[in-house]
Symmetry: C2
Subunit: 175 residues, 2 copies
């Protein structure tokens, strides 16, 4: 039985419940790559609660999906953070860091196949066991912005981003 909801005012709490869980190879936050682009080969799954399985129909036509999830190990929110890719403090909303006022994560991952209520994914930069809040299709017409200017991120060269974006992940895998 799905809950009914109503209009929300600014002072209300907004209450969500996980629609499922994200499974990945990343069991320690400190070794989890910071974005899918830095873990292109990393497999993972979105295991959706059986009662929501019908909502996944037609998703298999999309090559990429957004995972929207709860950073359950984000720790205390901070408004100014030093991002992984650069040693300069930035406003948290100008970064993708987990320690946000509402610790909501967003990753674009490749959808390999659907098996019932399980999505098999590649490029999963998410900690194993993360509560999943929503799945949306990546729609090129809406989401591919050709002329985007990316602020401080544009000043990080690709080699530096690749090295720092993986955190300890690759080094650890070679041990």
């Amino acid at each position: 039985m799905l809950p009914v909801r109503r209009g929300t005012s600014m002072s209300d709490n907004i209450i969500y419940q996980p629609i499922g869980v994200i499974r990945s190879e990343h069991t320690r936050a400190a070794q989890t790559p910071i974005q899918p682009v830095f873990c292109e080969g990393c497999p993972g799954r979105a295991e959706v609660r059986p009662e929501y399985g019908a909502g996944l129909r037609d998703l298999e036509g999309f090559s990429h999906v957004y995972l929207i999830y709860h950073f359950h190990e984000a720790g205390k929110p901070r408004l100014v953070v030093k991002p992984f890719l650069q040693d300069v403090e930035r406003g948290v909303f100008a970064t993708r860091a987990p320690c946000r006022p509402n610790p909501i994560g967003l990753s674009i991952v490749r959808l390999v196949r659907r098996e019932g209520n399980v999505l098999h994914l590649v490029g999963v930069d998410v900690l194993d066991g993360t509560p999943l809040l929503d799945i949306k299709p990546y729609i090129a017409r809406f989401d591919r912005i050709e002329d985007a200017r990316s602020g401080w991120q544009d000043k990080v060269d690709d080699a530096t981003a690749q090295r720092r974006g993986r955190r300890e992940f690759r080094e650890d895998a070679q041990k």
Copy 2:
């Protein structure tokens, strides 16, 4: 004072509070364009609570931002929906429809300028008064997927998408 949080299990409620509110020209859900691409000229604002203003620093370097928000007028969730762009029923997670189990909205909008804790935006497809949950920078390196295949959306031609994506908005504006 920002709240402290802890790990979350699958059965827990996840509780967020609005970081602010989205202001737009759209005062009726039935006349609100369904995506920013269908309201390229539409101005709007993200009014962030003053206590979170410091988190907006450095955002002005980015041309586009994600707004993550609560569809406060989404109504009852449905798992199978007929999307605005096509008269065929689809699983809700294969659409961007509001009536999702967790009614979380995602829009990529153009950031024109920041004035303190207010972001001036263009391409705002969001209902006026919508509770804002998070803001993230659009980062081309992470978010522009060149080889995306967009399922049933690829079968909707651009002219049809432009016509249906605006709902009644354009017609109404001409009255």
